[in-house]
């Protein structure tokens, strides 16, 4: 109170004194006179307890800072307000603090505790801003505090805070490089972060702190590639540049074979394909692929196969060429230039040409890079030649660069157009530009023999130009050109000799003199005369001209001493007393060399040889030649000098380092790699649609609205890295999917309600089978609040109940399936808030991996295998299920129907063929695993040794129990082993490598859903009870766990036996013996038709699977599957349906 009143007094007083402007005019000029006083004023305001006054004061102070005025003496007054409640005052105080803390370290410490408090704030924004300011305060003493704060923030829940932590790392590093090791740990941790928000910032930190630690990238490489498209623009630039360097160390040069081919040939081929680029991308791709294979075919040795990771990078960066951000486009362009196979580099040209429409600064940088690129890859830009035509309104530096590009692009076919264009430029008023054009013409003339004469004639015409600069430049260029073939052009030399009378530009005069001296034999009559004239004007010439006069004199003396002896003496005498010591030196030297005297040494004998040696013609080269050893797009490249902190772009390695370092624990990759190769060869699909699924979670937003196209793409989510990896992407997809689903969801909701009405809610005897179920049912009970994911589940149900379209259904199923799968994987990391996580999981799944499994194998592929099921076991099973009821014979698994699947074909396996089947035996070492019987047949001529499994790459949660190593498999022999796989109740494939002593094969086992369960015995009553329980666990909405399908049984399988057999073949279930069968006349009236019931449980989680088939007249039947795992249920219905109807 007192302070404020004091202030008021003060203010009143001051205004009385007549300086009212201080209160209103912040930091305008004219206040130097009372600097001291003014600051007093501000201090008063800061001390007041009115926020508005403080704000006003802070604004004035910040305005001072912005103008670069010193406000450091206010530090104590300002820092007091760091804890101010008003958020704007606080912000401005932060701004001030960051600016002056370095100068006032002790006082700055006062503020630290505020930030430490802020770091614990529940609001992520406040935590982030506290960290931001804390780390920006450049006070060495707080380094430990910063370190602690960064470490803590790196594991913050909010990605925004983690991003801030990443930003803080380089700040701390620049403050105290000692902390490097600790910081690298934090970087390593943040690199593993899966949010797009963090990725860019942490890579930036990586680049500043430890760019040499390329090993940290291995594990995150694929993730970064996949996230890239969703990272913010600035992060993209940093990541792409870093990945370029990474790829240079890890992959092989894709052009290594082509480098053997003739340079020109390669370019021609390339040019052709580039033209087509405009017409059709698809065709073009194919063509390019063909070309590539052709190219490799030519070079027979060591076929190059691109590492799939290398391909991944190229593929995932390509769409970014469409970015609006020039820096991103440039980053991708340089990546392609440095990493892509020659045939693919062309795609960047179009984008780069587009950038030329941008601001002139952008043009400037892009043209520099294009100039460098166009030397190595001329064909790439040839179609865009006209885009480099120069307008009179372009700034000079742009003109010169365009000229450079045009010159680089010139070849036999387009030179005439280019020269015509050059002719226009020569008339320009911008003389620097004209000079550059003349040089460009000279370069074209040297490079392209055909036009040399034309150019020369053109240049000679320029010699009569009125502008001296033009003439001079022409002379210099002509001189260079003439050096190539002087014999034919003595008339030009004569013409130029005449010019000495007029041209005043020293460089031009010197050039002419040099020419005459050099070729004095071609102009024997004129040369001495020129010397005579020059001798007259010697004293008035510029130094370089004088030197050339001496030079000319010496040469003439040697060739034609009779006529020029005296002249030479005269010139040398003049030079002897010249003011310039260079000229005096030269004169002395030459005199000794050429004039024979008694004392003259041995050298004078060779004088003629020395002076008139044949000089090689100059090579007119682009200044951009070999600039590409700098990473394109970099500052160093632009300056053609290494800038501080520039990381050298390494050369390709001779042999590729181990690619497995990039494997992440959770696999899915091996399969892809093989698949990818196939795809590359075929290339029958457009590039993008086929990568859609593969590039994984990050693209979910794209595919969200388009599940159909996604499932077509068929290649699964293998590339998505790991289940857990995709977690974060749900954030991305969430928003997108929400909209998409919301509307649909609402429609569906109506459906569901209808269903509700149809089906009476069963008596609630709530005994939920799992926690998850409870949650679901809760959600169901408040459907309005339920977000889209619960709706989509409902969709699923209503679909399967009412949908007629098979296709649609399968889509839904797959969606469901993946949802489920991810749910299981997601539940692993416990740190996250489970509910929210769950929600997200489901949602993004539905958008993503709809296609990561194949439908049940069609029977056509299936071949029966010998009955290898140990019969004893079957009897055991039988015994287990034996009850008072008569066991129908069909309960026994018809073992003869076991399907075998091919694991490795004889040809790909080089003689080793491997088949597998699901033996349906319990796997004794681990009851949660599915037993897979693997049969090796060695049809090769030599024996295979040490067959074993290696390097399993599994979905999270999946486990594998390898079979014992088979030491020797002689030729022609067959051997079977059993291995166990825990599929986690999903139909995801288990991928692993099958190794022999010589080779490794990537293989994968994908279980049909029916093999994921094992039979259990149950009585009919138990069955009914369980069925009811399952239904009731849903609360009001039934149908969640029950899927019913109507079907028409085929002629052949209308019998009971057939039905049972088909069902048990399709799924590993046991039949529930029932009294109400056909044979035993039913005492209970309701089911007038026979019901076949089957029971089983899933292998991993032990969830019940109940199947009942009601057969009616005329082969009509109804199939009902109850399973709490909906995905399994839906898939099972489909499989059984297929088994029964075919």
């Amino acid at each position: 109170m007192s302070a404020s009143s004091a202030f008021n007094d003060e203010k009143g007083g001051s205004s009385n004194v007549g300086e009212p402007e201080y209160g209103h005019d912040p930091a305008s000029g004219g206040i130097f006179s009372s600097d001291y006083k003014r600051h007093d004023d501000l201090k008063e305001m800061l001390d007041s307890n009115k926020d508005s006054l403080k704000l006003e004061a802070m604004k004035r102070i910040v305005a001072m800072i912005a103008r670069g005025k010193n406000a450091s003496d206010l530090f104590p007054a300002v820092v007091k307000n760091v804890a101010c409640k008003n958020i704007e005052v606080k912000k401005l105080v932060y701004v001030y603090l960051v600016r002056y803390a370095e100068e006032q370290q002790d006082l700055a410490l006062l503020s630290i505790s505020t930030f430490q408090r802020g770091l614990k704030d529940p609001n992520q924004l406040i935590r982030a801003s506290a960290l931001r300011v804390l780390s920006s305060i450049r006070v060495t003493i707080i380094v430990p505090i910063m370190m602690l704060a960064i470490k803590e923030a790196a594991s913050d829940m909010s990605p925004y805070v983690r991003k801030t932590a990443a930003h803080a790392i380089p700040k701390l590093y620049s403050l105290d490089p000692e902390q490097k090791d600790c910081l690298i740990e934090v970087i390593e941790k943040l690199l593993a972060d899966k949010t797009t928000l963090v990725a860019g910032s942490v890579v930036m930190a990586f680049e500043e702190v430890c760019p040499e630690r390329i090993d940290l990238i291995h594990k995150n490489y694929r993730k970064l590639c996949n996230l890239l498209i969703d990272v913010e623009e600035w992060g993209q630039v940093v990541i792409i540049n870093m990945l370029t360097r990474y790829a240079r160390t890890q992959f092989l040069n894709p052009n290594m074979n082509e480098s053997l081919l003739e340079e020109g040939g390669g370019e021609k081929a390339f040019y052709g394909s580039d033209n087509d680029d405009d017409t059709d991308d698809e065709e073009d791709k194919e063509e390019k692929e063909k070309k590539k294979t052709e190219a490799t075919a030519i070079v027979k040795r060591k076929p190059y196969v691109m590492d799939p990771d290398h391909r991944l990078l190229l593929r995932n960066t390509k769409p970014l060429l469409q970015s609006r951000n020039a820096a991103v486009v440039m980053a991708v362009a340089q990546l392609y230039f440095h990493l892509a196979p020659k045939a693919e580099v062309g795609v960047i040209a179009k984008a780069l040409v587009r950038l030329m429409r941008s601001h002139s600064e952008v043009q400037y940088v892009v043209l520099q890079n294009v100039a460098t690129m166009s030397i190595k890859r001329r064909g790439m830009f040839e179609p865009y030649l006209k885009s480099f035509y120069i307008r009179s309104t372009d700034p000079t530096q742009i003109k010169v660069l365009k000229l450079e590009v045009l010159t680089n692009l010139a070849n036999e076919t387009n030179i005439s157009t280019i020269l015509r264009e050059f002719q226009t430029y020569i008339k320009s008023n911008d003389k620097d530009f004209v000079a550059a054009t003349i040089q460009a013409i000279g370069r074209c003339a040297t490079n392209i023999g055909e036009v040399r004469d034309t150019c020369l004639n053109g240049l000679v015409q320029l010699l009569s130009n009125r502008d001296e600069l033009v003439v001079a430049e022409s002379v210099v260029v002509i001189k260079k050109l003439l050096q190539m073939q002087p014999e034919q052009h003595s008339d030009i030399i004569k013409h130029m000799a005449k010019l000495t009378d007029n041209i005043q530009v020293p460089m031009a005069r010197a050039s002419i003199l040099w020419l005459i001296g050099e070729y004095c034999e071609h102009v024997p009559k004129i040369a001495p005369d020129v010397l005579r004239k020059m001798a007259k004007t010697f004293t008035n010439e510029e130094d370089i001209v004088k030197l050339q006069i001496i030079n000319l004199a010496a040469k003439l003396y040697l060739t034609n001493s009779k006529q020029t002896k005296l002249l030479t003496q005269y010139v040398l005498n003049l030079a002897k007393y010249d003011q310039n010591y260079d000229i005096r030196d030269r004169a002395r030297f030459i005199r000794q060399l050429i004039v024979p005297t008694d004392k003259s040494g041995a050298l004078s004998k060779y004088a003629k040889k020395l002076f008139l040696a044949l000089k090689p013609a100059p090579v007119l080269e682009s200044p951009f030649k070999d600039r590409d050893h700098f990473q394109l797009g970099s500052l160093s490249h632009l300056l053609n000098a290494k800038a501080g902190g520039y990381q050298v772009l390494p050369d390709w390695p001779e042999a590729a380092p181990d690619p497995s370092v990039r494997n992440v624990e959770v696999p899915e990759w091996t399969k892809c790699s093989s698949r990818e190769k196939r795809k590359e060869k075929k290339a029958d699909k457009p590039f993008y649609s086929d990568s859609e699924g593969e590039s994984g979670p990050t693209e979910s937003a794209d595919s969200a609205s388009d599940t159909a196209s996604g499932s077509e793409s068929g290649s699964g989510s293998e590339e998505s890295g790991s289940g857990s990896e995709s977690e974060e992407s749900n954030e991305d997809s969430e928003s997108a999917s929400e909209e998409d689903e919301e509307e649909e969801g609402k429609k569906k909701k109506k459906n569901v309600e209808k269903i509700k009405a149809r089906k009476p809610v069963p008596e609630s005897e709530s005994e939920p089978s799992s926690g998850e179920e409870v949650k679901k049912s809760e959600k169901k009970s408040k459907p309005r609040i339920g977000s889209s994911e619960s709706e989509s589940e409902e969709d699923e149900d209503s679909e399967s109940e009412s949908s007629e379209s098979e296709e649609e259904e399968s889509e839904e199923e797959s969606e469901e399936e993946t949802k489920k799968k991810k749910k299981t994987t997601a539940s692993k990391p416990p740190s996250k808030p489970p509910k929210k996580e769950n929600k997200k999981e489901k949602k993004e799944m539905s958008l993503l991996d709809f296609d990561d499994f194949d439908p049940a194998p069609s029977p056509s592929q299936v071949t029966p295998l010998n009955n290898f099921l140990s019969s004893s076991l079957v009897t055991d099973l039988e015994g287990l299920s034996l009850t008072d009821n008569v066991l129908s014979p069909t309960t026994i698994v018809p073992s003869g129907n076991l399907k075998t699947y091919e694991l490795l074909h004889r040809i790909t396996g080089e003689g080793l063929s491997v088949e597998y089947c699901f033996s349906r035996q319990p796997f004794s070492p681990d009851p949660h695993m599915v037993a897979v019987k693997i049969q090796f047949t060695n049809s090769a001529t030599s024996e295979a040794k040490s067959l074993h499994v290696e390097d399993a790459k599994l979905q999270s949660g999946m486990r594998i129990k390898e079979f014992p190593e088979i030491e020797v498999l002689p030729a022609g022999e067959t051997v079977s082993v059993v291995m166990g796989i825990d599929f986690c109740d999903s139909t995801q494939a288990a991928n692993f490598q099958l190794c022999t002593h010589t080779r490794k094969f990537f293989v994968s086992i994908q279980p049909p859903v029916g093999e994921l369960m094992m039979p259990i015995f149950m009585t009919e009553n138990e069955f009914k009870k369980e069925q009811e329980t399952l239904l009731q666990s849903l609360g009001q909405l039934m149908g969640m766990n029950e899927i019913t399908e109507k079907l028409t049984l085929e002629e052949k399988c209308q019998g009971e036996h057939a039905v049972v057999q088909r069902v048990t073949t399709a799924a590993n279930l046991s039949r529930v013996p029932c009294g109400s069968d056909k044979e035993c006349s039913p005492p209970v009236p309701p089911p007038p038709f026979p019901i076949h019931r089957f029971a089983g449980k899933t292998v991993t989680s032990g969830s019940l699977v109940l199947v009942s088939v009601v057969t009616k007249e005329d082969g009509a039947a109804q199939l009902t599957v109850n399973c709490e795992k909906m995905v399994i249920g839906t898939m099972l219905v489909k499989d059984i349906l297929q088994a029964l109807t075919q």
Binding site: S52, R324, S392, Y688, D702, S705
Partner: protein, 418 residues
Amino acid sequence: MINSLFLINPSGEIFLEKHWKSVVSRSVCDYFLEAKEKALEPEDVPPVIHTPHHYLISIYRDKLFFLSVIQTEVPPLFVIEFLHRVAEMIQDYFGECSETVVKDHMVMVYELLEEMLDNGFPLATESNVLKEMIRPPTILRSVVNTLTGTSNVGDTLPTGQPSTIPWRRAGVRYTNNEAYFDVVEEIDAILDQSGTTVFAEIQGVVEACVKLSGMPDLTLSFMNPRLLDDVSFHPCVRYKLWESERVLSFIPPDGNFTLMTYHVNAQNLVAIPVYVKQSISFFECGSDGRLDVTVGPKQTMGKTVEGVMVTVHLPKTILSINLTATQGSYTYDNGTKLLVWDIGKLNPQKLPNLRGSLSLQAGAPKPEENPSLNIDLNIQQLAISGLKVNRLDMFGEKYKPFKGVKYITKAGKFQVRT
């Protein structure tokens, strides 16, 4: 990355400085000012200057130099692009980007810069995110602010930042939901003396003004997407869907933004809407010259060509001109030797003509080159490439938005050599 930023006016005065790392003395700008002195035009200042300890990267925009100081390797385009974003941000916030505007809102600009970069690395560059953190000034708000002392700084968490669609803020509400798209095509061309086309291409841009509530998901499709040769998108556009189906699917930012830019397939011949008959000649002997320019419609697809303007940079040796225009008016600045002839609407019946005499400075030689003519024009309701928007669908929201598409053709860098 970016160490400091200086804003410099054309006369070389540094009127704002901002440092993100240690303070760099403003004397570093001397290198730049030196280069600026050397350059004839502001555009000729090299964008990248190498000084002993720093690198200076600058842009010239809206008559202001934005100069950034760099200490270590960084992609130059990264910095240039960022500087342009700064200029765009100022433009977006205050309606224009000029020295006065920056000086008037010094503190706010400074705060914005503080938010845009952290330690020299871009943090928040999306205008929607920034606007949530620091509210743009409006007249009403500035009045209220002065009265109540409240602030422009948002005290809520900017929701856009942590989300993955940073370009859109949450909770947008409009009473009138509308979405407008302007398809603007520019013809870049060089014509030679005889009127033949040396080079011509069409560059297009789709500018959008979307004011829709909630989180609309829009899909824009074209009748003839095959025309589009090379495209670049706002980050909101889903690349994959474009690649597979040639539709633009996106959740739009709120307000005005550039949805896409495109280049029309070069194989299609470009229709040049006007022709220019010109003759500029100087007499060898006397200090005299003649100028005669006629503009007429050529391929206009039945539309009227409007806003025609001819700009000529006359040679430096011209002393004075004496011209008469049959339509429109011309202005001539003897200092810059810039002749601007504003024709307006093109009437096919009566072709506009500008003719008269030019007088050279006494004794000056006949100019080497005739000046080239830069043509400006626009044609309403026509996309010269023939591109047509097919339909716009909205998902995710229930209301019916009002939709509109407008086509304009303009001259881009349209130059006639003489």
